[in-house]
Amino acid sequence: MLGSFAVLRKQSLLGDAISHAALPGIAIAFLITGTKDSNILLLGALISGLIGTFWIRGIVKKTHLKSDTALGLILSLFFGFGMLLLTYIQKQPNANQAGLDKYLFGQAATLVESDVWLMSLVTGFCLLVLLLFWKEFKILLFDADYTKTLGFNTTFIDVLITSFIVLAIVLGLQTVGVVLMSAMLLAPAAAARQWTNSLGVMVFLAALFGAFSGVFGTAISASQNNLSTGPVIVIVASVFVLVSFIFSPSRGLLFKQIRFIKNRRDLKLHKTLAFMYHIAKTHDNISHPHTIKILNNFQGFTKRTLQKLVDKQYVTLHGSNWSLTKEGFKTASNLYNQQSDSHE
């Protein structure tokens, strides 16, 4: 759901950076408290995720570095630091440390009821804020400069969106893990974009795809032994993306190709019809028969195109002669007018 905003902001990699930036937070939270209570660890993840995000914003604003450079920098810095802390924790003579690495790849099976409650609560809260600030989010995404001239505090809206993206990512960490989380954020949004041209529908579809991947992925991994849930969910989500890229009616590759071929065929037909129209125009009677041989002079003419024109009842055949029907003449003259219109 919130992934839609990340995709539209062209900050897709932000999700990746945030999830990696969350890792040291988890490790530090463990070092300080010594517990493995997921709420406390996720709080740590949230804090370090937010720090990472605002560092990225700061770097982009204050230096000449491009945002992808800043993202990459923060991503590896935080992830490296997080790994360092994890190895340090593992060397500690404390039996309690096992299991922290589940945040690397996620382990949905370790979710308990209270985790699910927390997730639902936060999701509900996100939804509420999204509905309240829908108008502000939309205009900021589309045209930030203009939003500022209308008197909105764009920094506030920006921080709000970013914070919610961080929140969503941190919540997903337990299920999918640091490494795969960004796919979970982006895949449903990328898939949804293919099907709609409305922001509202896109966000809704993304939420639907995301939920469906979650349910479906869990079901698959539960039915098999030794299939961890996180990666399966991500694969299911990716299948959505693939299917959307190929089969979406307006933006999909398949229909684009079909439309392309159909357009070319239509164009060929129209050209032949226009050629006939020019010949027929010179006679008083538009249905005056002409020999088919004339058409052979016309480049690209085939028997098949002629047959198609007959099928469409634009042309009638009499032996080796053809003549335009009234309908054919009308269509051709419309065609001709349209063309001269579009050349203006």
């Binding site: 829908w134 502000e136 589309f142 045209d143 400069d145 001239t149 008197g151 909105f152 041209n197």
Partner: protein, 245 residues
């Protein structure tokens, strides 16, 4: 000169890093003029507009609108950004974009309703884009996209309009449509400030002009100051333009 000063800029200086982009600009724009800002690439034309509108933070200087600070007079000012400044593949419709013009008067959280929709439709009508209201914005031509941006500013019903190259990449039909709307605005005693590139059309379209090249070279009525001398000073080459009377 006509009565009120619509926009007053004092000592405005803007810099990216060390290099000044605008240097100590003083500018008075009288109410009811149709003004072109002209100057070579990199002269700071867009920067000037953006600094006046508070999109960029100037190092020094102040802007007042009808004698009061800009921050208090925002609702009197509308902005038409460069067409290329947004992603036109954004999932939304022409009507939706024009509706954004009403967001400022709505304020936080409140949703646009029937009244706002009516205003947006009227603005679309004015720019001749009503038939395209439900069109996805990526499927509009460059000229149509520009007209949508213009409609969005018209919805704001402001007194002062800032436009950043509204004629860039549009065909002759759209250019005439836009200039007619601008002239109508002037008739209604609105002030219109346009970043403009085509020097040939300045005398025909505008009655006021500002020459800008980091510093302000000259500002005033087109018939008084639009001459070879100022053009040469601004563009640095010996520029000859025949001015049609």
């Amino acid at each position: 000169m006509k009565g009120n000063i619509a926009v007053q800029v004092d000592d405005l200086t803007v810099a990216y890093n060390y290099k000044p982009v605008l240097w100590d600009i003083d500018l008075e724009i009288p109410e009811g003029v149709l003004m072109a800002i002209v100057g070579p690439n990199g002269a700071g034309k867009s920067t000037l507009i953006k600094s006046i509108l508070g999109i960029l933070n100037p190092i020094a200087g102040s802007v007042s609108i009808y004698g009061k600070p800009y921050e208090k007079q925002r609702e009197l000012v509308a902005y038409v950004p460069q067409k290329g400044s947004v992603d036109w593949d954004f999932p939304t419709t022409a009507l939706d974009v024009v509706m954004m013009g009403t967001y400022g008067s709505l304020g936080w959280i409140k949703r646009p309703g029937q009244k706002e929709k009516k205003l947006a439709l009227e603005a679309l009508e004015k720019v001749g884009m009503l038939p395209f209201k439900n069109r996805q914005i990526s499927q509009l031509s460059g000229g149509q996209q520009q007209r949508i941006f213009l409609a969005r500013a018209l919805v704001q019903d402001a007194s002062i309009y800032f436009m950043d190259e509204p004629f860039q990449g549009v065909d002759a039909t759209t250019e005439i449509a836009i200039i007619n709307i601008l002239k109508e605005l002037r008739k209604a005693n609105k002030t219109v400030i346009v970043v403009h590139h085509d020097l040939q059309t300045v005398p025909e379209y505008f009655d006021w002009v500002t020459f800008l090249n980091v510093k302000k070279i000259a500002t005033g009525p087109v018939k008084d100051i639009f001459n070879d001398d100022n053009l040469t000073k601004t563009y640095g080459i010996n520029y000859k333009v025949s001015i049609q009377e």
